[in-house]
């Protein structure tokens, strides 16, 4: 009764299926990557245009140079020996050479693209005031020191948020209408306040009042010796900022995801899975969680954008030595190269997060295809 032909063809078919999925995911991510890169380029270019007042800053700088030259000449007694004609010529040639030295002789439009390239490659020269911990003035070195703490804090916060949010949402969808469910719904408006706001309260309670956890910073001072004590110290310092991140987003997330789960568990194929005699666990995993994942990933991507935006103040509140704190310091000291650099880095980080989510999205939803092929059944 069994068909032998199909049995032998099965491994080959499986192989071609895998090849299909891989090429689909690869194509999708490649196109998404290019799109995101273009987005980053446009964002950085717009920042440059805005920071330069659309080229008007050039006029201001030229005026500044002219004024300075005039000032220098009038305070130079030797100038009195020259005729007015000679003085004017000297002044003009001085102004011109200084404008040339500052690169202001070429049109702004051309230079804006040079700025763009320098910005994108983080070739930002020297900071004006800020110094890296190792004593370097190179913007790149300053950034490099600050990147790892930010990644550590945000990545662990986001991953924890995703998985805890999902398991809470699944749990609530199983017993919707229960007291716990109603409590989470009631707490959903907590998202109106940003993470740093909760951070202040967490510091007050757990550091100030109870004294269980450190107020701020990333590691004890002086730093403990050895890998394990170091890691533990960092973990201890991470609890409050990560906690603040989670408190600020978990309730509305669990609420909306639980609703997604409820919507998807009333789909016909879920009842069909039940009729097929699958166990509750199997149904939950393959027929509720899997079809809901694309929706959840999308909603998570939106949450992440707000999280990145809030990171600047969160790091400042917790004196966390990351990019956000650096941005705040740079703004305070008006250190333009660093401000530009942090802006670019944030654009990159946000794009990278969205890119990773896009890859995950294309992995979990086979309907995702390029060229408007996203027909939904």
């Amino acid at each position: 009764m069994l068909n032998i032909g199909t049995t032998q063809a099965a491994p080959a078919a499986a192989r071609s299926r895998i090849r299909d999925s891989v090429s689909r995911v690869f194509k999708y991510t490649a196109v998404r990557g290019i799109t995101l890169l273009v987005t980053v380029v446009i964002a950085v270019y717009l920042t440059i245009l805005i920071a330069n007042g659309g080229g008007y800053v050039d006029e201001m700088r030229k005026g500044q140079i002219r004024e300075q030259v005039a000032l220098e000449m009038s305070s130079n007694p030797e100038m009195a020996l020259l005729t007015i004609q000679q003085r004017r010529e000297l002044e003009n040639s001085l102004v011109e050479s200084r404008i040339k030295r500052a690169g202001l002789d070429r049109p702004f439009f051309v230079r804006s693209f040079e700025y763009l390239w320098d910005g994108l490659t983080l070739n930002l020269g020297r900071a004006e005031y800020l110094v890296s911990d190792s004593g370097s003035r190179q913007v790149r070195n300053i950034l490099g020191e600050r990147l790892a703490p930010t990644l550590l804090l945000m990545a662990s916060g986001q991953l924890l948020l995703f998985f805890s949010g999902m398991s809470i949402a699944l749990f609530l969808s199983r017993r919707y209408g229960s007291l716990l469910d109603r409590i989470v719904i009631a707490l959903a408006p907590t998202s109106t306040a940003p993470a740093w706001f909760y951070g202040i309260f967490l510091i007050l309670i757990f550091a100030g009042l109870l004294g269980w956890l450190p107020f701020s910073g990333m590691i004890d001072a002086p730093p403990p010796q050895g890998f394990l004590p170091r890691t533990l110290s960092i973990l201890k310092h991470m609890i409050l900022p990560v906690g603040a991140l989670i408190v600020s987003s978990i309730f509305p997330m669990a609420y909306s995801w639980r609703t997604f789960f409820l919507i998807y568990s009333s789909e016909d194929y879920v009842e069909m899975a039940k009729a097929k005699g699958l166990s509750d666990r199997q149904i939950e995993r393959r027929y509720v969680l899997r079809p809901t994942l694309p929706t959840i990933v999308t909603s998570f991507a939106l949450t992440l954008i707000t999280l990145w935006v809030g990171a600047i103040v969160l790091e400042t509140v917790f004196a966390w030595p990351g990019i956000g704190r650096l941005t705040q310091q740079a703004i305070n000291m008006f250190d333009t190269p660093v401000i530009v650099a942090t802006t670019v880095i944030y654009a990159y980080l946000l794009a990278l997060t969205l890119f990773l989510l896009d890859i995950i999205y294309s992995l979990v939803d086979p309907r995702v295809k390029l060229g408007g092929g996203g027909t939904r059944s």
Binding site: M1, L2, N3, I4, T6, T7, A10, A13, R17, E267, D268, Y269, E271, M272, A273, K274, A275, K276, G277, L278, S279, Q282, R286, Y287, R290, P291, L293, P294, V364, D365, P366, R367, T375, R376, S377
Partner: protein, 326 residues
């Protein structure tokens, strides 16, 4: 005569609502022999689908009453606990093609995986054995096997419906409940599907319960016909008698509303609406719309066994009551 496969007695399924219990299936009893096809017909909302769900124990959360006995293959499956019911009955013995079955495939899993799933779980087949079986039923329902590795959204509605039927057949169940398998399809696809079902019926010894409001299509397949009205099964007859000589006034009206090709008849209709299932009339539930009602109809009619083997729930045929023809 083959043996009785399904013996349903006093099956009740009430749903809890704010206004009171909805009596979706009320005291339904019938027997179905192996290899036969029962067509359950009736208007929308008369409890046909609830009957199917009650047999497969696919119950929503707001259950008020779920009682009676369902003896399947000699065993009362109502006494099984949920876990035993899941492992021993669902899909291994009774499979189902649900209403709007084109939506009953998981959009993010490949068709092959979904069809093979119950085989892997219940029969503990290897992946390759399951794949072979799945390919086989795919051919039975007339789908090319290269569609197996596709996702549901890549198939048309009719193909998905057939894939669902293939899924129901894959585990060789004794009973397949088809809940309006063709209602969302165009006429050509419908006819095609009916032919597929007929072929399966002839080739295998599968018993079918076909739930439909389309009496005409049901006649293609049915060996017996059950008419449901307002949660009750008011007539149960073999198809050969039912289509020519239905007993219950409602069944007669229902038959009169079906257009036929060869006869030139004026289509009949039934005035009024079926009663609410929340507080149905205590007497005959059809009385308010019946042209032949009389005083007795305000009492609940008994089930009467007729000479041709059919049962009917109507005072007109109850020998113990006064029979009065209008």
């Amino acid at each position: 005569m083959s043996k009785v496969l399904l013996d349903v007695k006093n099956l009740k399924l009430y749903f809890r609502t704010r206004l009171g219990p909805v009596q979706a299936v009320d005291d339904v009893s019938f027997q179905l022999r192996e290899g036969r096809t029962l067509a359950v017909v009736g208007e929308s909302g008369c409890g046909k689908t609830s009957l199917a769900k009650a047999i497969l124990r696919l119950l929503p959360r707001n259950i008020h009453t779920y009682s009676g006995s369902i003896v399947f293959d000699g065993v009362d499956i109502m006494k099984f606990d949920d876990e035993r019911f899941r492992q021993e009955i669902r899909w291994t013995k009774i499979a189902m093609v649900p209403q709007a079955s084109m939506n009953s495939l998981n959009p993010v899993l490949r068709i092959e995986d979904q069809l093979a799933e119950p085989l892997l779980i219940h029969e503990k087949l290897t992946r390759q054995q399951a794949a072979a079986r799945v390919a086989e039923v795919f051919k039975i329902v007339g789908l090319p096997t290269d569609f197996l590795s596709r996702y549901p959204f890549e198939l048309s509605g009719g193909m998905r419906q057939r894939a669902t039927i293939a899924m129901a057949l894959a585990s060789n169940p004794k009973l397949v409940v088809l809940d309006e398998p063709s209602s969302a399809l165009d006429l050509l696809t419908q006819a095609n599907l009916m032919n597929v079902l007929k072929k399966i019926k002839q080739e295998t010894n599968t018993t079918f319960i076909l739930i439909t409001h389309d009496i005409g299509t049901a006649s293609e397949l049915a060996d017996e016909v059950a008419v449901m009205y307002a949660g009750e099964m008011i007539e149960y007859a073999s198809a050969e008698y039912f289509y020519t000589d239905a007993h219950h006034p409602y069944s007669q009206k229902l038959m009169a509303s079906v257009p036929t090709l060869r006869e030139d008849k004026e289509l009949g209709f039934i005035p009024g609406q079926p009663p609410s299932l929340i507080k149905p009339p205590t007497g005959c539930r059809f009385a308010a719309r019946c042209e032949r009602r009389f005083e007795k109809c305000s009492e609940h009619p008994n089930i009467t066994h007729m000479g041709d083997g059919s049962t009917v729930q109507c005072w007109l045929h109850d020998k113990t009551g006064e029979v009065k023809h209008a």
